[in-house]
């Protein structure tokens, strides 16, 4: 009986390995669908043998946090007020930044009074207040962006010529805004720049051009993207300085949502 099956069994082994393709795959799947118990058993035995392959690897321990995430996901959700949950952290930061700005403003006002100042001095101090308020507002915006529940974080890993590079993208798919932070990317020549791409299926969509500093770092705020497709990956390529509509240079960072 088994000899009649010699060809099927041979294909079954390659099928169990996941390497059967093309017409052979379709034929074998049809054979399996016909209910061949011999091949079915042979595939199971082959898969058991193949476990020796991953047992050949030096074992790595996953982070404890993954177990927590798994249990979180299998636990039925109880509705909690979102406002209360996200409010604690962002409110704390808000008050910290606000207190800093207020303290700075108070110092400036005290100085202004004590100097019975000239207009020039007052104007200078007012400019400082404006700068502080502007900085504070920017930080507020950043904190507000990062603490929005919709914001998702994507880790980008270095590829090809820059395997040691890393990146982190914070992406809000609702507002189509994001913030990219990179580390370890080589500084580009003056006629080159890095271009970020959002990828929907296999379609890359340009998401802005940026350069890195001497340390290979960049903090790049994405322009609001008009393209409404759902991105499942993000990538960075090296392109001409002005950016291009379609990727043409080597991919240096890649990450999945």
């Amino acid at each position: 009986m088994a000899t009649e099956h010699e060809n099927w069994l041979a294909q079954g082994e390659i099928y169990a390995l996941g390497a059967l393709d093309g017409e052979e795959l379709r034929e074998f799947q049809a054979h399996l669908a016909s209910g061949c118990a011999i091949c079915d058993a042979h595939i199971r035995q082959t898969r058991d043998s193949l476990t020796l392959l991953h047992q050949s690897l030096s074992v790595m321990t996953p982070p404890v946090a993954v177990k927590t995430r798994v249990f979180d996901q299998i636990t039925p959700k109880i509705q909690t007020p979102v406002q209360a949950q996200s409010g604690g952290w962002s409110a704390w930061r808000w008050w910290l930044v606000g207190a800093g700005a207020l303290a700075a403003a108070a110092v400036v006002l005290a100085l202004a009074w004590s100097l019975t100042g000239t207009r020039d001095q007052l104007a200078k101090l007012q400019a400082q207040i404006a700068a502080l308020q502007n900085e504070s507002a920017q930080k507020d915006q950043l904190i507000q962006f990062l603490s929005t529940p919709e914001v998702r974080s994507v880790e980008l890993a270095g590829l090809g010529p820059t395997p040691e590079a890393k990146g982190k993208l914070f992406w809000n798919p609702t507002t189509r805004r994001g913030l990219l932070i990179t580390f370890g990317l080589p500084k580009t020549a003056t006629d080159k720049a890095y271009e970020l791409w959002g990828i929907a299926g296999n379609e890359p969509v340009p998401a802005g051009v940026f350069i890195v500093d001497e340390r290979g770092q960049a903090r790049f705020q994405l322009p609001q993207l008009a393209d409404g497709r759902n991105f499942d990956k993000f990538a960075v390529t090296l392109e001409p300085a002005g950016g291009v509509a379609k990727p043409s240079g080597p991919m240096v960072l890649l990450g999945s949502l």
């Binding site: 041979a10 082994e13 390659i14 169990a16 390995l17 996941g18 390497a19 059967l20 393709d21 093309g22 199971r44 035995q45 082959t46 898969r47 058991d48 043998s49 193949l50 476990t51 020796l52 392959l53 991953h54 047992q55 050949s56 690897l57 030096s58 074992v59 790595m60 321990t61 996953p62 982070p63 993954v66 177990k67 995430r69 798994v70 249990f71 996901q73 299998i74 880790e155 890993a157 590829l159 090809g160 010529p161 395997p163 990828i199 299926g201 296999n202 379609e203 890359p204 990956k233 990538a235 390529t237 379609k246 990727p247 043409s248 240079g249 080597p250 991919m251 890649l254 990450g255 999945s256």
Partner: protein, 186 residues
């Protein structure tokens, strides 16, 4: 209270009854194996962690589908992990192909480096393991299929070898693994 020595089969049966304690023990027993495989196949830590999470959520939801007739529980779990990892690898490969819009040599170099980045993986093959003891030609085709998700045709193209040769090497490698497993089981 579940005994520490409870078999993995027993744990899966308990998980099918939505027993969270058993699920925790099953995770502790098998998560390192799944994570190691995921790291070897995907090479990116965050992707490997995501895969580990997806696999165990699937195990929680589908434990009732497992039966001993389907092979060992470890093989069942690892097959879930491999299938998901291969889907991700092939999706990335399709996406990379769609990026290859020019004949830029730098790009070609980059792609080939990415595809052959097994050597850059954090996961290493342990000495004296079954895989390390296979002849190089058999080990290579099994690694490309099992860990890198390549099909027989893709392997033949990659190695510039006839398809028939690749198939023979795969089957010889699998046969050798079966002999090793038989020796261990004896």
């Amino acid at each position: 209270m579940i005994a520490e020595s409870a078999s993995v089969i027993y744990l899966i049966q308990q998980v099918a009854r939505q027993d969270r304690e058993a699920f925790g023990q099953l995770y502790d027993r098998c998560s390192s194996l799944v994570f190691t495989l995921a790291m070897r196949m995907l090479k990116i830590r965050s992707d490997a962690e995501d895969l580990l999470q997806e696999v165990f959520v699937q195990v929680w939801r589908q434990a009732g589908n497992y039966s001993e007739e389907r092979g060992s529980p470890e093989a069942w779990i690892m097959n879930i992990a491999r299938s998901r990892a291969i889907d991700k690898i092939r999706s990335i490969r399709r996406m990379e192909k769609s990026f290859a819009l020019t004949d830029d040599p730098a790009r070609a170099e980059s792609s080939s480096t990415v595809e052959s980045s097994a050597a850059q993986s954090e996961v290493r093959i342990t000495m004296n393991s079954a895989l390390a003891n296979l002849p190089e030609s058999q080990r290579k085709v099994l690694e490309l299929a099992y860990f890198d998700g390549l099909t027989q045709t893709e392997i033949a193209e990659r190695l510039a070898e006839p398809l028939g040769t690749v198939k023979t090497r795969m089957r010889s490698g699998i046969q050798r693994l079966r002999e090793i497993l038989g020796t261990r089981g004896a």
